[in-house]
């Protein structure tokens, strides 16, 4: 039988995502990819995967997954509330996020709700045995491509796994929750800041903006004070000749409210973009929930590049500092119990 995770009950919006479909924007193909690249990178590292492996991006509420493999190592990242492992003959056991776990055939992982973020990740050691489309497993649901049949997960989907056995290794955890940063969201002015009046730019930088209900993988529509265009909207002030849309571009259509464009954004568009979220803060945007409020502050391109490099260095350190997920120097009784007593045999790793 093929090793798989079977979806007993889907979450709200579970899609497979990797770092995105790179190199096809010129053909009109959106990049897609993880909304929170840090969450996916940490989940992959905890599972022992290369950073470009696809994981399951969990939107707001996660799925119930039945393990149909001898064993599978999974890693969860994101504020779960908490997830549970259930087995037919054992009571549900809560499991922590930000660490790896070894699951056995017949166990059910109930991911549950995410609290205080819209996004969490599940990585499986070895990854999913699915074919890449245009070089990527990222799901782009609007065109029905990538991931699992080009769509979010449904009940009875069977996600094929590369490995039938978890590779040998210890479970590990993040030493401390990763600091995504606080305070105003950093943005770089442009590409079309000159499409806005001085007052419009001051409004954008000075006011609080609330995430509306229209927030998804394509972008976030904010509510707050309207931003004045330099030329009246009825005279074309909110129209430009369509041009490329980078990640985090903040377009302001005629209604004057900002829309931050994220992973599933279209490749080109005809509304002026007042500013662009610095890449260091895109993972924060990818975790925002409706009702949360942000403020924007401007930095230069050079500052934004440096912030990003510092963040990548912190991410690399966090991965280098993973801790064994058991008491230091002690015996992991739970693991011993799961592996030796339940199975009745000593854990036998499979050659990679």
């Amino acid at each position: 039988m093929t090793a798989a995770l079977k979806v007993l009950r889907p979450g709200l919006f579970d899609t497979l995502q990797d770092r995105g479909r790179i190199g096809y924007m010129a053909l009109g193909m959106p990049t897609a990819g993880a909304m929170d690249r840090i969450g996916l990178a940490l989940a992959n590292a905890l599972a022992g995967n290369p950073a470009d492996t696809a994981g399951l991006e969990i939107g707001v509420m996660g799925p119930d997954l039945l393990v149909e493999a001898d064993s599978v190592r999974v890693a969860l990242t994101g504020p779960l509330s908490p997830a549970l492992i259930e087995a037919p003959d054992a009571p549900p056991k809560p499991i922590e996020s930000d660490r790896s776990h070894l699951l056995k055939r017949g166990q059910v992982l109930r991911v549950g709700m995410i609290e205080g973020s819209s996004t969490a990740y599940l990585a499986v050691a070895g990854g999913f045995a699915l074919a890449a489309f245009m070089g990527s497993l990222s799901t782009y649901a609007r065109a029905g491509v990538g991931g699992f049949e080009g769509r979010k997960l449904q009940a009875n989907d069977s996600l094929p796994l590369k490995f039938d056995h978890a590779p040998p290794g210890e479970e590990c955890k993040l030493a401390a929750p990763f600091d995504y940063g606080h305070g105003p969201v950093r943005v770089v002015w442009g590409p079309q800041e000159d499409s806005f009046s001085e007052q419009g730019r001051a409004t954008f930088i000075g006011a609080d903006y609330r995430v509306s209900k229209e927030a998804d993988r394509m972008g976030i529509r904010f509510e707050g004070p309207t931003i004045e265009h330099a030329v009246p909207v009825e005279k074309g002030g909110a129209d430009i000749i369509s041009d490329g849309i980078g990640p985090g571009a903040i377009q302001v259509p005629g209604a004057g409210l900002p829309i931050v464009l994220l992973a599933d954004r279209q490749t080109v568009g005809g509304y002026p973009k007042i500013a662009t979220v610095a890449s260091v803060d895109l993972p924060r945007l990818g975790r925002l929930l409706p009702g949360q409020t942000v403020r924007f502050t401007a930095v230069t391109v050079e500052e934004a590049e440096k912030l990003r490099r510092d963040q990548e260095a912190r991410l690399a350190r966090a991965i280098a500092d993973f801790q064994p997920a058991r008491p230091a120097g002690g015996i992991d009784l739970a693991r011993l119990y799961e592996e030796n007593l339940i199975d009745g045999v000593v854990y036998e790793p499979v050659p990679a």
Binding site: I22, G23, Y24, M25, A26, L27, G28, M29, P30, F133, M134, Y140, R142, A143, G144, V145, G150, V187, V188, W189, G190, P191, Q192, I241, S242, D243, G244, I245, G246, P247, G248, A249, Q266, T267, V268, G269, K273, T276, V277, A278, S279, V280, V301, E302, A304, E305, L307, R308, R309, E312
Partner: protein
């Protein structure tokens, strides 16, 4: 040549060649797109991730871990001042189109009326237009194809349709558009092609590319149905539609 560099955060910038839609400006965009591709193939321009052409500008995306705006912009500037080729290598593509079925061309009569000519003259105008793909976007594979015969210029429909069938051939302003998917749309539908502009089974799922020269070839319903079956079965020889 003077260009403007516009910031798109710390992972992209846009090179803007002008503020109009014109074949000359779009030609420069495509030439820089090609020149950056060629330079990257030679191992230069480290850290560039991809380039995204549009009507009058090229967005260059980069990895701030591998390069910086300060390092990259002068390199792009040097490419431009060394002189871009007048026109990048282009393909000539023929798109078969059936205009003769009212189901395919629900707006043909209205276009004829509003442009004060016979439906047959509308079809002739579309067939004699020398089209160029300016930009792909909005949805995967959707091409904005400029060069419509000026006798057929019309604004978009005031009431967009909720459902435009896949592979509909439409016109508005100075352009023609072929819908890669069933989708909402506000353009005037004057025909349908049996070709799929996006077919994920193909190694190159997107058929048209920016810079392609394009003409339409009139086919009857019988031919439409035959080619449709070949496209669906995946047996169509697409190379018959393309001249390099």
């Amino acid at each position: 040549m003077s260009v403007r560099y516009l910031s798109c955060g710390d992972t992209a910038f846009t090179v803007e060649f002008g503020n109009q839609i014109s074949p000359q400006i779009n030609g420069q965009v495509m030439a820089l797109h090609g020149a950056i591709g060629a330079a990257r193939a030679d191992g230069a321009l480290k850290g560039v991730v991809e380039t995204v052409p549009s009507m009058r500008s090229l967005m260059v995306t980069y990895d701030p871990m591998a390069t910086s705006r300060a390092a990259l912009q002068p390199e792009i500037d040097a490419l431009i001042s060394r002189g871009l080729p007048a026109e990048a290598k282009t393909r000539c593509v023929t798109i078969p189109c059936c205009y003769d079925d009212p189901e395919f061309a629900p707006d043909l009569d209205e276009v004829a009326e509003r442009t004060k000519r016979a439906p047959e003259q509308v079809i002739e105008g579309h067939l004699k237009s020398a089209f160029t793909v300016y930009v792909l976007g909005f949805m995967p594979g959707l091409a904005y194809i400029a060069g419509l015969d000026p006798s057929l210029y019309l604004p978009r429909r005031s009431e967009p349709r909720v459902r435009v069938p896949k592979s509909s051939v439409s016109i508005a302003m100075n352009m023609t558009v072929i819908y890669p998917f069933e989708s909402p749309g506000g353009w005037h539908l004057i025909g349908r092609t049996p070709i799929w502009l996006f077919d994920q089974r193909r190694e190159q799922p997107v058929f048209l590319a920016p810079g392609d020269h394009l003409t339409f070839e009139r086919i009857d319903r019988k031919t439409f149905d035959r080619i449709s079956r070949e496209v669906e079965a995946g047996t169509l020889d697409w190379s018959t539609l393309v001249k390099e």
